[in-house]
Symmetry: C3
Subunit: 361 residues, 3 copies
Amino acid sequence: MSGKNILFLFLLLFIPVSLAAHFLEWGDLVVFITAGLAILPLAAWMGTATEEIAVVVGPTLGGLLNATFGNATELIIALVALNAGLVDVVKASITGSIIGNLLLVMGLSMLLGGLRYKEQKFESIVARVNASSMNLAVIAILLPTAMNYTSIGISEQILQNLSVAVAVVLILVYALTLLFSMKTHAYLYEVGVADADETSYKKPNLWLWCGVLLVCTLLVALESEMLVDSLEVATSQLGLTSLFTGVILVPIVGNAAEHATAVTVAMKDKMDLSLSVAVGSSMQIALFVGPVLVIAGWVLGKPMDLDFKPFELVAVAVSVLIANSISSDGKSNWLEGTLLLAAYVVIGLAFYFQPVTPGIG
Amino acid sequence: MSGKNILFLFLLLFIPVSLAAHFLEWGDLVVFITAGLAILPLAAWMGTATEEIAVVVGPTLGGLLNATFGNATELIIALVALNAGLVDVVKASITGSIIGNLLLVMGLSMLLGGLRYKEQKFESIVARVNASSMNLAVIAILLPTAMNYTSIGISEQILQNLSVAVAVVLILVYALTLLFSMKTHAYLYEVGVADADETSYKKPNLWLWCGVLLVCTLLVALESEMLVDSLEVATSQLGLTSLFTGVILVPIVGNAAEHATAVTVAMKDKMDLSLSVAVGSSMQIALFVGPVLVIAGWVLGKPMDLDFKPFELVAVAVSVLIANSISSDGKSNWLEGTLLLAAYVVIGLAFYFQPVTPGIG
Amino acid sequence: MSGKNILFLFLLLFIPVSLAAHFLEWGDLVVFITAGLAILPLAAWMGTATEEIAVVVGPTLGGLLNATFGNATELIIALVALNAGLVDVVKASITGSIIGNLLLVMGLSMLLGGLRYKEQKFESIVARVNASSMNLAVIAILLPTAMNYTSIGISEQILQNLSVAVAVVLILVYALTLLFSMKTHAYLYEVGVADADETSYKKPNLWLWCGVLLVCTLLVALESEMLVDSLEVATSQLGLTSLFTGVILVPIVGNAAEHATAVTVAMKDKMDLSLSVAVGSSMQIALFVGPVLVIAGWVLGKPMDLDFKPFELVAVAVSVLIANSISSDGKSNWLEGTLLLAAYVVIGLAFYFQPVTPGIG
C-alpha cells in the first residue's frame, strides 16, 4: 500500500471527527478545518470509483461518466454553497479553480517532476486541442464580466440573461468536445486510454464501485454542508475575506484529488497526462461546472450570473497567458514550475490584500 | 456553371427590387434587406474583376490593385455611411469586420472544411508573417481607445490628433507590407500567385473587366446609399441597436465575398489560402480601411477618431487571442471551427444585450 | 579602432562640457542634454569592464557580476532620481525600459540585421526560457496596478505592502533564475559563454578593470545627479510631460549600451545573442531593478509602490504581446523589425498626447 493510500485512510478519520465537532459544538473553525480534511480522501475515492466503473461500462459511457464526475467534488461543494446563498463564494471558487489548476497544480507538477528529471517533454496533440478549448471556454465565461466592466447602465437582469445564454452555449460546446474526443477524433486520445488500462488487469466489480461512488457522494455532500455552514464564521476568525476563501481555500479542497494525480504522474515523467489533468480540469470548470451552476442557481431561485470581480478577470487572464507561455514549447523544468508557483503566490497576495467591498460578504 | 454562380445571378434580381422598394416606398425595412442582398453579388463580381485585371497588368500593379480593392465593398459602404454622419456605425463596422473575419469566416472555413477532411494543415510562412502584421495593426488601431479608457481628461481634440497620427503610421506600415510581399520577399508569396494563375488559361480582356469593375463599383455605391438611408429606421424596427448593426450586420454584408471565397477554398482543402483571406482581410481593415476612413472623415468634415467602445476593444482583443491560439499549431479540425463560431456567438450575444448608451444613436 | 569606439571617445568630451554647463550655469536644458550624452560612453565602458572582470573571476562569480551590473546605469539614474523625490519619473522609467527593450532595441536589431540578411534565425532554448521568465516577471510587476485599477477603496498603505511583498517574491525568482542558468542547467547557456571568450585571447588585468568600473560608476552617478537636477526644468522647456520623459527619454539614455550591443551583434547575424540582450534586459528590469527600487525607496524614506498608470500597464502588455508574436516563429526579417518600431512610435505618440494628470508633476 502506497504512502498516498495510507494518508487517505488516515484522513478518513476526519469524517467522524468533523461530525463530532459539529454536533458537540467545538466551534466553527474546528468544523471548517475537519470537514475540509474529510473531503480530501472522499474526493480521491470518488475519482477511483469513477475510473473503475468507466473500465466496465466501456469507453463511450465511461468517457461520459468521467467527463461528468471529474469535477464532482467541486460541483457538490458549489451547489451546497449556492443553496446556502453564498453566491459570491461560489463565483469566486469558479475563477479560483481555474487559477489553481493552471498555476498551482501545473506549477507543482513541473517543479516536483523537474527536481527528478532535468527536462520533461509533453507534445501530444491532446494537450494542444485541450488548450484551445480551454482558452475559448475561459474567455467566454469571462465575457459578461468584461462587458459589465466596460459598459455603463447594464441592469442585473441583462447580466443574468446574458449569463444564462452564455452558459447554454458553453454546455453545447462541452457536448461537442465530448463528441470530438469520443467519436470523430477518438484516435487522438487513445494513448490516454491505454494508459488507464494498464492499471487494471482484472475486470472491476461494477456494483461494488457504484456503491462506493454513491456512499462517497453522499458523504461529500454531508461534509460540504458542514464546511459551508461554518465557512463564514471560521474564515472571519482567520481574518480572511470571503473572496480570498472562495478563490484560494475552497478550490484547494475541491481540487485536491486532481492535484494529487497530476503531481504523482509528473513524478513518473508522464507530463502529457499531468498537463491534461490540469488543463482538462480548467476546461471542465469553464465549460461544464460554471454553466451548470448558473442554470442551477436559476432553478434553485438563487440567481447567479457570470459577472465576476474585475480583478478575478485579470487574475484568470494572467493565469491562462502564463500557462500558455510556459507550456507552449512542449518542455518543462523546475524553473518553469517555480515561475508558475511564484505567479500563484503573487496573485494570492493580491487577493489577500484586496479590501472587502460591498457585495462581497 | 456552379451553384454559387447561379445564386449570385439570382441575387442580382435584388438590384431592381431594391430600387423599386426605394422609389415606391415599400418601407425602410424592405429597402434595407433588399439593398443588403443586392450588394452580395456585386461584391463578388468586383472581386472577380479585380483578379482578372491583376492577371493582365502583371504581378506588381496587380498586387497593388488587389491590395486596394480587396476590401472595396466595405470601404464604399463605410464612406457612404460616414458621409451620412453615421460615425458610430462606421466605427463599429471596423471592429466588427475584424471580429467577423477572425471568428465567423475562419470558423466557418475550419468547420465546413473539417466536416469533409479529418485534419487540415496550413503551415506556410505567409500565414505567420500576416498574423504578426495583423496583431500589430489591431493593437495599434485599438491604442487610442485603450488610452482614453485608462486616462482622465483627454479632450476630443487630443483623441482626434492621436487618431490621425496613428492612421498615418498604419498606412506607412501598410505600404511597407506591400513592399515586403511584392519586392523584397516576393518569393515567399509565390505559391499564392501560382494558385491564381491556374484558374485563368487565356489572357482576360482588360477593358471588359475594367468596365465590369466600374459598373459594379457604381452599383455598390448606389445600393450602399439606400442601405445607409434605411439603416436607422430598419434596425430600430428589428429591435437592434446601431452598435449591434455596425458590429454584426454591416460586416456580414460588406465581407460576404471574402466569406464565400474562404469557405469555398477551405472545402477544397486549401486551408493556407483560406486563412490568408481571413487574416489578410483583418489586416487590411486595420492597416488600410480604418486609417483611410479616419483621414476621409477629416476631409469630409465628419471627424472620426479611433476611440471605440471599450467593449469593442475587449471583443477584438479576444478574437485575436482565440484566432492566434487556434491557428498556432498549423492544423485545424471541425471542433476548432466550432470553437471559433461559439466565440462569435458569445460575442454577438454580448453586443445584442449591450444597452443603448449616449453617443450611440 | 572601430567607428563605435571613436564615437564613444568623442562622447567622453561631454563629461567636462556637462560639468562646465552645470557650474557656469549655462541653463538646465544644456546640462540635461550634455549629462545625458556623457552617460552613454560611461555605460558602455562599465559593460566592457564587467565582462572583462567576469572572464577573470570565472563563470559563477562572473555571471553574478553580470547579472547585478547588467543594468547598473539604469539603476544608478533611478536611485539618484528616487533620492531626489522624482518617484513618478522612476516608475515611468521602469515600464519605459521594458517597452524600449522589447520594441525599440529588438525592432532596430531586426530591421538593421534584416537589411543585411534576408532572413535571420534564432532558435536557442535560452531565448525561450528567458521569454517565459520575462512574461512572468512583467505580469507580476504589473499586478498591483491591475489590482488598484479594477478595485475600489484600496489604500496607499495596502498598495505599498503588496508592492514590497511582490518585490520580495520577484527577487527570489531572480535568484532562482540565476541558480538555473549557472548551476542546474548551465549547459543550456554554454553557447553564450563561448561567444564571450572569443573576444578575449589573453587574461585581462583584474585591477585595471576594477578601477575602470569604479571610476565609471562614480562618474555615472555624478552625471546622473546633474541629469536629474536639470530634468524637470529642461523637459518642461521642451514641452514634455514628466511621464513622457520617464517612459521614453530616460530609458533611451539608461539602456544605450544594450541598444548598441544588440544592434551590433544583430548586424553580425547573431540574432540569438541580440534577442537575449533585449529580452534578458527586460527580464532583469522586472525581476531585479524594479524590485530593488521598491525596497530602496522604502529604505530611503521615499516610498515607491508598483502602482503604475493604467496606460503604462496597457503599453507594457501590448509590447510583450507583440514581441512574443513576432519572435515566436524563431525567424526575423526587416518587416518584423519595422512592425516593432511602428508599435514603439504609436505607443510613444500615445504617451506624448497623454495629458498631465494630478500625481504626475
